[in-house]
């Protein structure tokens, strides 16, 4: 009986495995793009959502007035054209007369006005409001013209508007209080179904003013493990996927049927010091730490060389040759001398915080920094935290040092005013006030001549690297992987998926 039973059992098991192995996913729709990502959107309100994963979904559904292209140039979206008054205190937009919401109603100046008023209303609790505080009033002389009157010259305002956090939503939906529960934008795709942390179904918006969308829609699956995403790509279960982990990304080109898109991004990896805590309040100590770090080694070891050593300015048009910045070549002798001059010849002990898996390289970066700083006697204790716990400590400035991946912006002022101006919202995080940095930021804000702005921000970058409240390490890449039959996707330095509107399936 024993043998009989085990034979039967083995047959059942074999059958079960066969069923498991042969049940391959059938495509939901032949012309729909099957996409996968690790992290799902956390909400549908474009004004409120700031998570990378939410922005990636919402920019397929909603549109701002203008958007940034792959070269970070401002190009039309809902607005067809725009103009700054010579004193940079007035910004006028002409809307695209063909722009329509997905319910067929035209996008009007009244919708733009209502959207910005919602954004500026504190009750909305939009974090992006901080970028639009110079808007004093909004006028709508006709259906397709919007005039923003500003309380002070604000050149970076236009770039700040090129964000899904400044999306134009229907005035009627604002009045009905349905923003966030119903997704109704003017973008290339309509959201048909959303099951949080599981899947999304999008269909092409036939009325999109931006042109014809070549695919029928996008079926997004949330696959929380990136090795599983790679497996799904390998077995053609997925056409297109977002990859965060550089280690997984480097495996993609080894698969003959797959293509890896690798784009430098604006976000930067950084070691933040807290200059309000001893001994990081001493300039020489901070500079010693900056000199002791081999940025290229951090990049190579923690991120398998996937990136580029960077200074504070990561946006094309403003980046400088990083090797000309203060101590961008590791100099242990200089670092030791600086430590000795500051009275810390024997080093000191500090704790560095890092978030688990955010970014994927965080723990590795902390370990490399720990071993590098040990060379000048700094004993670094690593404290890994769950992301939310880390964010809480980070926002309170409750750390000696922090390994961080901070988001970048296309404009240096928008990127850094929160940290390095005297009125910056994140002063509590930087704990560092510097007159030179503040005055250069203010100059950059009002200067309209691009060449002069470049000089101002080059000075800003040089000074920031020299006073070293933070040690900028490297910028990495954003990765998407796709089957060879997916064509026409253009990635951007912001990691936008808007390029999916031009994708074709061969």
């Amino acid at each position: 009986m024993g043998r009989h039973l085990s034979t039967k059992f083995l047959s059942v098991l074999a059958l079960a495995v066969t069923i498991g192995a042969t049940a391959i996913a059938s495509p939901a729709s032949a012309a729909s793009l099957k996409m996968a990502w690790k992290q799902d959107a956390t909400g549908l309100d474009p004004h409120k959502q700031t998570a990378f994963s939410s922005i990636r979904l919402l920019e397929l559904i909603y549109e701002p007035l203008v958007r940034l292209n792959k070269d970070l140039q401002i190009v039309p979206a809902v607005a067809a054209s725009w103009e700054f008054a010579p004193d940079a205190k007035q910004l006028t937009f002409k809307l695209n007369p063909n722009a329509k919401f997905q319910d067929g109603k035209p996008v009007t100046a009244a919708d733009v006005k209502a959207s910005f008023e919602r954004l500026l209303d504190e009750k909305t609790a939009a974090a992006a409001r901080a970028n639009f505080l110079s808007i004093a009033s909004i006028e709508t002389p006709d259906q397709t013209t919007v005039v923003f009157k500003l309380s002070q010259p604000d050149v970076p305002l236009l770039t700040a508007m090129a964000s899904i956090n400044a999306a134009i939503v229907p005035a009627a939906e604002i009045a009905a209080g349905t923003i966030g529960t119903k997704a109704l934008g003017s973008g290339p795709f309509k959201l048909d179904k959303w099951e949080p942390n599981s899947k999304e179904t999008l269909s092409a918006n036939k009325d999109w003013a931006g042109g014809k969308v070549a695919i029928d829609g996008i079926d997004i699956s949330v696959l929380p493990d990136e090795t599983a995403i790679l497996a799904a790509l390998r077995t053609k279960q997925v056409d297109f996927a977002l990859i965060n982990d550089p280690l997984v990304a480097t495996l993609v080109p080894k698969e003959p049927s797959l293509v890896l898109n690798r784009t430098p991004v604006l976000a930067y990896h950084v070691l933040q010091m807290n200059p309000s805590r001893k001994p990081m309040d001493v300039l020489a100590v901070r500079q010693a730490i900056s000199c002791a770090i081999d940025r290229k080694d951090v990049l190579d070891t923690a991120s398998v060389g996937e990136g580029k050593v960077t200074g504070p300015l990561t946006m094309p048009g403003y980046t400088s040759d990083a090797s000309t910045l203060f101590c961008y070549k590791q100099d242990i002798a200089k670092a030791k001398k600086l430590m000795a001059d500051a009275g810390f010849a024997n080093g000191f002990t500090a704790t560095v915080i890092a978030a688990n898996g955010e970014p994927a390289t965080a723990a590795a970066e902390a370990q490399v920094l720990q071993s590098q700083l040990a060379e000048i006697g700094v004993k670094l204790n690593i404290k890994m935290m769950e992301l939310n716990v880390y964010v809480d400590a980070w926002l309170k400035g409750d750390f000696d040092m922090a390994v961080a991946l901070n988001g970048g912006r296309a404009d240096p002022y928008s990127m850094y005013n929160r940290y390095w101006t005297k009125t910056g919202n994140l002063q509590k995080v930087t704990n560092y006030i510097d007159d030179t940095l503040d005055s250069l930021m203010q100059k950059g804000r009002v200067e309209t001549d691009p060449a002069k702005r470049k000089v101002i921000f080059a000075d800003f970058e040089k000074h920031l690297a020299e006073v070293s409240p933070w040690v900028w390490l490297y910028t990495s890449y954003s990765y998407t992987a796709q089957q060879k039959n997916v064509q026409g996707f253009v990635p951007t330095p912001e990691g936008s998926l808007f390029g999916l509107s031009k994708v074709t399936l061969q």
Binding site: T42, E195, S198, A232, T235, D392, V429
Partner: protein, 320 residues
């Protein structure tokens, strides 16, 4: 009062304790729903904006007031609204539960179908090579983390054979049985692997005990066939520890298998709880934990009742 009634009466007390524990614990962890939604951008909020968001997430009131109003809701069958899903927590939990239940049942089947015969087989060949082989298998099974098994299966199937079960969404068994089984069998094997190893070990040692009992020796001396001695006389008496183990393990599995659900992208209860914690979706965390605790208590009760069936000498609730 009957044993069953007394056990059922403890349910509300345990649930109350669990509810207080989870309510306080999730709020003690640094970070809140606002930082979960906005990340570091939360630092850009003005006090008025923060207040508006706190009111939206229902975290603006003192914790006792929050707990009281939530408890009142629970007593009326309302576990609260999930802010991420925009739906009642109970609705989401009940949507995810069939997957978790099926996964738990299937992995238990895998475990019992593999573990029980293997354990019995090893016990009857005590200290022989085949016994050693089974014990090594059990040791490997118990000491290999299930995410390693899962990742190896996925890698081997996708890289070696170019196939993979459907990931990302769940097809209920009644909708499409073949697709459903295709999706669930590998996670069930992954999860059942370690479970089977435990069953093997425990059934082997229980069988060894029973096989040395007098009544087994008597049966053998009376000429009862070996097969009958093992399967009819010895095995039923060796089952009690197996039932205990399976019950506890099954109770855990009903709470969701986080790692396996993550790897195979199955939208089950385990992932739901994990995501709810990471996103500080308080109502959902509380609802899930309460639901899981309830299931665990029910399973424990059923295990106790099963003892009586297996061994008529056991009288539940009596002091002797």
């Amino acid at each position: 009062m009957s044993y069953l009634a007394r056990r059922l009466l403890t349910f509300p007390l345990v649930m109350l304790g669990v509810s207080i524990l989870v309510f306080v614990a999730i709020r003690l962890v640094p970070g809140d729903a606002i930082t979960a939604m906005l990340g570091t951008e939360a630092g850009l909020l003005t006090p008025a904006q923060r207040a508006a968001l706190s009111a939206y997430f229902g975290i603006d009131k003192p914790i006792l007031v929050q707990y009281w109003s939530w408890l009142l809701g629970v007593l009326q069958g309302d576990l609260g609204i999930s802010v991420i899903h925009g739906k009642p927590a109970l609705t989401i939990i009940l949507e995810r539960f069939p997957l978790t239940l099926q996964l738990a049942l299937m992995s238990m089947c895998v475990a019992l179908l593999v573990g029980l015969p293997a354990g019995v087989f090893a016990a009857t060949r005590n200290e022989k090579i085949s016994d050693l082989a089974v014990r090594i298998f059990a040791m490997i099974g118990q000491s290999t983390p299930n995410f390693v098994v899962g990742l190896l299966i996925i890698y081997a199937l996708s890289a070696g054979f170019g196939i993979l079960p459907t990931m990302g969404e769940f097809t209920p068994f009644l909708t499409d049985p073949l697709r459903n089984l295709g999706q669930m069998i590998l996670p069930a094997i992954t999860l059942g692997f370690a479970f089977a190893a435990s069953v093997t070990r425990i059934s082997r040692s229980a069988m060894l005990d029973v096989l040395s009992d007098d009544y087994v020796r008597t049966a053998r001396s009376k000429g009862v066939p070996k097969r009958s001695v093992i399967w009819r006389h010895a095995l039923p008496n060796a089952l009690i520890p197996v039932v205990t183990l399976s019950g506890v393990e099954f109770g855990y599995l009903l709470g969701g298998a986080v790692l396996v659900e993550q790897i195979y992208a199955l939208p089950g209860l385990g992932r739901l709880v994990l995501e709810a914690i990471l996103q500080r979706d308080y109502a959902l965390v509380q609802g899930c934990v309460l639901f899981i605790a309830f299931n665990f208590m029910v399973v424990n009760l059923l295990v106790d009742l099963a003892y009586v069936t297996l061994d008529p000498r056991i009288r539940l609730g009596e002091s002797n």
